[in-house]
Homo-oligomer: 750 residues x 2
Amino acid sequence: MPEYSVVGKRVPRVDALDKVTGAALYSGDIILPKMLHGKVLRSPHPHAMIRHLDVTKAKALEGVMAVITAADVPGYKYKSELVFAGNPHLARKKVVYAGQPVAVVAAMNPYIAEEALSLIEVEYEELTPGLDILETMKPDAPLIYTNLYTQGPYGKDTKPSNIAWRVEYRRGDLETGFEEADLIMENTFRTQTVHQGYLEPQAAVANIDLSGKVTVWTQSQGIFQVRALVAEFLNVPLSRIKVVPVEVGGAFGGKTYQLLAPLCALLAIKTGRPVRMEMTRDEVLKASRPAPASLITLKMGVTKEGRITAASAVMLFDEGAFPERPYSSNAAITGLGHYKIPNLKIEALDVLTNKVPSGSYRAPAAPQAAFAVESQMDLIARALGMDPLQLRIKNAAVEGDLLPDGTTFPRIGLKETLERMAKYLTQKGKLEGENRGRGIACGFWRGGVGCSSAHVNVNADGSVNLVVGCVDLTGSRTGLAQIVAEEFSIPFEKVTVVTGDTETAPYSDLAVGSRTTYQMGIAVYRACQDAKAQLARRASLTLGVESTEIEFAQGRFQVKGKPEKSVSLADLASNSISMRGEGPITGRGSVGVPPFAPMFAVHVADIEVDKETGKVKILSYAAAQDVGLAINPTLVEGQIQGAISQGIGWALMENYVFDRGVLQNTTLLDYRMPTAVDVPFMEILLVEVGSATGPYGLRPVGEPPIVPSLATIANAIHDAIGVRLKELPMSPEAIFWSLQPNIKVKQDVG
Amino acid sequence: MPEYSVVGKRVPRVDALDKVTGAALYSGDIILPKMLHGKVLRSPHPHAMIRHLDVTKAKALEGVMAVITAADVPGYKYKSELVFAGNPHLARKKVVYAGQPVAVVAAMNPYIAEEALSLIEVEYEELTPGLDILETMKPDAPLIYTNLYTQGPYGKDTKPSNIAWRVEYRRGDLETGFEEADLIMENTFRTQTVHQGYLEPQAAVANIDLSGKVTVWTQSQGIFQVRALVAEFLNVPLSRIKVVPVEVGGAFGGKTYQLLAPLCALLAIKTGRPVRMEMTRDEVLKASRPAPASLITLKMGVTKEGRITAASAVMLFDEGAFPERPYSSNAAITGLGHYKIPNLKIEALDVLTNKVPSGSYRAPAAPQAAFAVESQMDLIARALGMDPLQLRIKNAAVEGDLLPDGTTFPRIGLKETLERMAKYLTQKGKLEGENRGRGIACGFWRGGVGCSSAHVNVNADGSVNLVVGCVDLTGSRTGLAQIVAEEFSIPFEKVTVVTGDTETAPYSDLAVGSRTTYQMGIAVYRACQDAKAQLARRASLTLGVESTEIEFAQGRFQVKGKPEKSVSLADLASNSISMRGEGPITGRGSVGVPPFAPMFAVHVADIEVDKETGKVKILSYAAAQDVGLAINPTLVEGQIQGAISQGIGWALMENYVFDRGVLQNTTLLDYRMPTAVDVPFMEILLVEVGSATGPYGLRPVGEPPIVPSLATIANAIHDAIGVRLKELPMSPEAIFWSLQPNIKVKQDVG
């Protein structure tokens, strides 16, 4: 690998000082003069017609400045009655989940706003809620939307249903495949709804200027997407909305949705004043977008040597009340995608229920699929008496293999990652001790959607400003600044990276799909090349040779091979703006959706189970991951450690507990997430099989490390106590009951 | 001329609503938590050694957070003892003008800061001040700086002097030229120091973050120049300073100087808190940078037909106490530059005195030179009995003629402008009435220095954001937005123009030299072409032809000559960020100092003199100007009207009154400027001889209309009462005394 001077180094985060001292600006820090406070009235019912909605009394309350309902939303005029576009889904005529916004109030202070909510009169006619996907997916199930036709690979269905999306992938011949197998295994795995668990509740501030232009401050995963959504909600051109970036206190996919900004903007327009809205933790849990529950049935055939001959899967995801995004297709592609399976059939569906709408959560739907597939692989290894790592190495996809959707794997490092873990385990040795077990699992994520653009401005002293419009969730500013420093051969400190607002920054898609450093990295890299090409041309004039004769070496533009005939970046930059200069140096870079740079993670957990309480203690955890090139190993390790912590919570603790569609555990005491004491030391093993597409071989990083973590722990529990748990969370209670085989525990689905 | 759809139209200013309602943000509107207030202690003496400077008592005062003197300025360490670079010239060892900063205090509030100033102990040893340029320029005059060597065309002098700059231009043979003349006339003209008269006094706020980075808000003519200056003053890299643009309440050249920002930034560093500084009107008049006084002696020879055969001039400018910029060279180039003069010698000098340092004021030094030259031309016309317009038309320079500095005139519209005025006067007819007179004069300005760059970001709906880093003094944002709208064939409303800060915006030079719309216009135009080239390439992919086959017509990208095979800007923009898109469209444009696009103005004033009081009443005023193309006639007319108003003040009222070097009239009651009642209706005649270099033939506009105004009024007074005033201001008092030829009035120079 080439030696880089800044890329690959553990430089400190550019935002470190601001973050640790509290100087960083978050949505909640935005306080404007004469600011009003907005509150949302939410439906108490999971499914009901709104027969009557009267806001008169609320409006009459002193200190109330505006009350809005769906009838006030300009953007709703152009949408069909029940199926809507975008958030935040102010209820129209009926409510489809408990927690859905029905009306919104702006008042002088939050207390008056709260009081006003209690004065809003709503008459509901309750409808039977559809709460179990196995019920709502039936052809004769009561419809949540009468005009929803399943979107599938063969177009839309002709008859409405509660199935929002369906994908199906086939390859080879299933029957032949299973005939070739020596062992056929079928299992069903279930996961529950869990929350992304970000620290910072949603908040938004909107202001309106004299021309009617609205400025929005809100945490999000994409300022341009907030702009588009608010503009659509208000039915105004994009140029009437300005979104200012603020720091984000955790997102993990959950802040791709804008639950407050559109409402807040409309309140600002109605009142002519700045308005602030903030969700309580109760609202965050009840009415933001948690990860979907899943039900996956998996049938796999293998030879006695461990070669997979066939696999079929039905993957069901609980989309909740809004047909928003096809999570199931992620599962269909990534769940079995990393194995060579000649005969394959995957059917994956997103099914509506009258529950809180599902959303994206770090590698959306992949952890659920991996929980099923990697648990099954573990069971197969046990059945065949094979080493579970070797079973995976045997079936691992390589460059040129096809994914379930027919796309081809480019250069990938799955085998290298598995082998890295094998080597680590050899060094580590066997796990000894009673009720202890080691679990191994593998994870695949494709990531990398969206497009990006970037500007670099070269300052007169040879320092460089990088301007981007992407949100920094992961330390991406730091990584991008490293690219700029590397490309210009300048010290890291000489790069200033700034997130512009929607008016100053070039466009960027959402910070999702682990894409920012990888894909914005390409745009930044191109912007650097664009600026360097201009600098080379200037250098050619200075040095009196053709542009093609100029090379950039050791921070100077020189005549090829002649360091003695050269000019420095700083001199060129300073000349550029001098009286005889040709003008300032500014570079641009843009990139569409680039080819995928697939990512793989292999995890190993050593655990111990307390059989009396069912509590799992994680003794140690190791994660190997092909990151292409770790642009900043500290940040990469942080991403992996954070993802594993979330995986531990998902595996062992977290669960949305519903009572007839109404969420019961709406505090962080009742919705238990891991704390520092629940999280073990983690060994991070970075594998660097350079991608074909990212600069320096960069691959996306942030999402894959959550993918194998659920199955890793399930496999470890099996190894420790001989019991296979096929349902999450594997709470102390669940483990305890699993150890009492004669007592059957009924699981409540609703 | 081609027909444009947005360029040339009277669209409203983009900042109009904010400005008229007070929503626009100025330096003085910036209030930060825990903000301190800074005040400056100024020298009472025009010339003195500082024998002792003790700030102990001031520092000890409760509420005082910092006191700084020159010894605290990091950037001074690297500068020679008495000659410094940049502003704000905190006195070191000696003071060189009354009003010079000696120490600066930051305190809890402005009252404590004031009190602290009174506790600073300074012992001065007074030196004889040099107050008259005719004295200070003498070889044996006491030196203000012992290490100042005249900068001239032949290098530096070997002996120090009080002459800061000297230029000399020669052409032909003077002796021969005067021999050919039928009439030789020699006169000396004098103008006094006048102020730019902007409404908004200087103010600055500086804050420091945890990393030590300083953010500055201050009105200026260039945010990047503020950055450079503050960085130099503090001796830190550019990247440690961020300058945020605010609106500017008038500048006219006077805000190219940063009198507060560096001090304010240093106070912020010393105290760790935000600091605000604001100048009183007294300080503004006493210690900002007014336009230099001048003394010009002019000898001209003409044939009886009115052809100029020779001219020689000595042009002296009072540089005040700092050798900052060579104003005299502007006068040397523009004063006689617009006439064909075969034999020419011009010597121009900037001479130091112990008075407030001079600065730039709208077409710096050109109005003073035009006062001399155009008064002289009027006298020549009278002597020859020629029509003053015809005399000028006869001698007017045309394309290809040489300027005094040897550069060549490109396409110019001087003759056209003179002829336009001749036509106007024919229509208007003769001026009748007692004590009434008509004056005519001509003005030339070259303008257009500095470099620019710009970004355009195309939004998904086909609207466009323009990002620039230039300060808007004249409505330039509006003009630049018109260029973008024109180039993309979109409505003006679909362009958002934003001034970024020094971290988000691409570099721009100062908003000076009438350059912004003209020259930033070139950068903006190029950025549009860059984006359009990318769009054409995308269109070629969509339409299945080569890029070279694509043309942009009627707002669509089409196959050449085939409007039926086309795609809209909005569709391309929206596709660019779609899943299959090639990435966001962002364009960049950059330009160095472009060729000059010379500008000419011809003014006519009809006036009436009250012989009893000496008061001049301006009956009407007409101004013809070659603007190349009036990008927005309303804004162009506004520039011309504003400049004439300033010219009227300069001609009739304004004057710095010194008493032994100390300014006496330091309020706007004593320093009288024109008000609405002093300013007549002005007829603006726009001439459009397109420049060879500006987009659409644009020329700079803002400065030339002040150039001929002083002489125009002097010539009108002569026409009205038969008296030639060769000295400004032509106050009622001066006119009254001029009508009493037997009484000699002595003018005080000091």
